[in-house]
Point group: C2
Chain length 334, copies 2
């Protein structure tokens, strides 16, 4: 569809150096098997019917360790709500979702469960042997009736998605883990060609401390102020578009606090990294308003009420654009 003209390529050695010097990914082989199994199942089920699309949703913020034996780290603010909500709507739209999320951030189908003080919602039933249910505990979640319906629906939808092979959850914490897993996912999804989508909602650090420059032990606080120099993280978006999964449909996010520069930065990001769509959002209003930026124009998406997820409409728009992209891709217009 669109060529990646004008992409400022990251110096190849920066990218190579980032990966070669990163601490090795734990359980790398197991992760790869899990991922391969998930994608293979999707491909097989596609052969027997309508092609199944796969989206990799990234969600939550990455951390940047400041010490090798990590006590301190820089974190990026992100609740993970956007990614979690979007995942639910992608599953509803028939997509298989690889949910690459920050450990501890919001997860799909969990958004209506009580947060933080879970214990306040539990009640122990007196009789734990009712109707042959002695196989399980009778610890019961207390909720209002309306809330109850939502939570029950969430739990059964979650079960359906996981058991139906439509949801794979992969956690990360550091920027090193995030980019290593993202690369693995992208290379594994390359076989899906235009059926693959990347929905890159994670808040990824722009700066990091290269592993070999990092203090080995906890930084001592005895002597005056602390000066730190952070290196720029190589821009992996263009590497993804060029090398990892060139045929996939790519959506990235731009979050700014200053509305005056937001849309211009979104536009630049789209052209610079060859994104098909950039979703622009402001920190102050990100829950209630985003702007979908494409080469053809800008569309504002707003939530219509307090409890209305704007992700519902956002995912609708993106699914439609993905459909167009697939059609054009298949007819050879790139």
């Amino acid at each position: 569809m669109d060529s990646i003209k004008g992409v400022k390529e990251p110096v190849e050695s920066d990218v190579e150096s980032f990966f070669s010097k990163a601490p090795p990914l734990k359980d790398c082989d197991k992760l790869f098997e899990k991922l391969k199994g998930f994608i293979d199942r999707v491909v097989r089920s596609s052969e027997n019917g309508k092609p199944v699309r796969v989206v990799c949703v990234t969600s939550g913020g990455t951390t940047v360790p400041l010490e090798q034996r990590c006590v301190r780290y820089i974190d990026n603010f992100s609740s993970g709500n956007r990614g979690a909500a979007s995942t639910e709507y992608f599953v509803k739209a028939g997509y298989a979702v690889i949910f690459l999320y920050r450990w501890g951030s919001c997860q799909p189908y969990c958004r209506y469960l009580p947060q933080d003080s879970f214990l306040d919602f539990f009640e122990i039933a007196e009789d734990s042997t009712i109707k042959g249910m002695c196989f399980c505990s009778m610890i019961i979640l207390l909720m209002s009736e309306s809330h109850d319906v939502v939570v029950k629906r969430s739990i059964s939808e979650y079960r359906k998605a996981v058991e139906g092979g439509m949801l794979l959850k992969l956690p990360f914490t550091t920027i090193f883990e995030y980019l290593q897993i993202l690369q693995m996912v992208a290379l594994s999804m390359d076989c899906l060609k235009s059926l693959g989508m990347f929905y890159l909602a994670a808040a990824v650090s722009d700066f990091y401390v290269p592993w070999e420059n990092m203090a080995k032990h906890k930084i001592q606080s005895a002597e005056g102020p602390l000066d730190m120099r952070l290196t720029q993280v190589p821009k992996m978006l263009s590497v993804m578009r060029k090398d990892w999964a060139p045929a996939a449909f790519c959506i990235s996010f731009k979050l700014e606090t200053d509305p005056d520069i937001l849309l211009q930065k979104a536009d630049t990001a789209m052209r610079k990294y060859g994104m098909h769509v950039v979703v622009a959002n402001e920190l102050a209003t990100y829950k209630s308003e985003v702007t979908v930026v494409t080469r053809c124009g800008k569309t504002k998406v707003c939530s219509r009420a307090k409890d209305h997820d704007l992700e519902m409409e956002l995912v609708d728009i993106l699914v439609e654009q993905h459909s167009d992209y697939i059609k054009k891709f298949e007819s050879g217009i790139k």
Copy 2:
């Protein structure tokens, strides 16, 4: 008991400047009322019988915002397990506990609940109207039978602690919130004299960016590496001992990654800030081993098995030392 000789006093203006320039604490008045109510109830119940001791347990890590409209922040690693477990043992020992914890970190009586993927443990019961229990949801936590017993006990102990007025939970996120609330708690606990205890297990940032030096908007990543200068956080431990709650029994924690400097640093901290006890732990072994450092010597506390909380023995030792301190305080030996 011990005078605070040799304390390197933080320059008063550093402390004043930290508080006067910090962003104002949200819901400050409500928080104060809650705290006052809790301590008043304890004092009243003490008047009718055995004096109730109060411990403020701090737990989890503080964040340091890098931008005023915060997207990025520095965080300190801490699961909050130590503080949460210790709180349970302090309540068991008859203490009223003010649990000052990082939002989202581990909480007392929650340690045996499943983490991260809670949904995997829920089952929806078919019949939600059994035995008049239609007032509540029939969403049931699936657990093994042995696990079940522990969770049920946790839930009922939690209820008992909260309903009996023995547990008050106050959350924080940033270093500004942490120190502002700690000051408020300490000033409110001063009336308890030697019956008050501080168990400062939170991982508190040593460095911060003063609010007025902070970037107003998200730091832009366009131009090369990022240089940051962080200011030292004034050492509030000695201010607490000297001004906020001079008669309280104070325990601080020292975490290091380098075992060679750990005990020496713990000893220095004890003398420098006038702590009664410093608990020294190493990052690599903090779950299974700590050393209790006092002016009289060092005691190693180890967990005896995988599921054995070393906090049980640690709290026992500290309660005993607190009893000695109270006796000496009451007989006028300071």
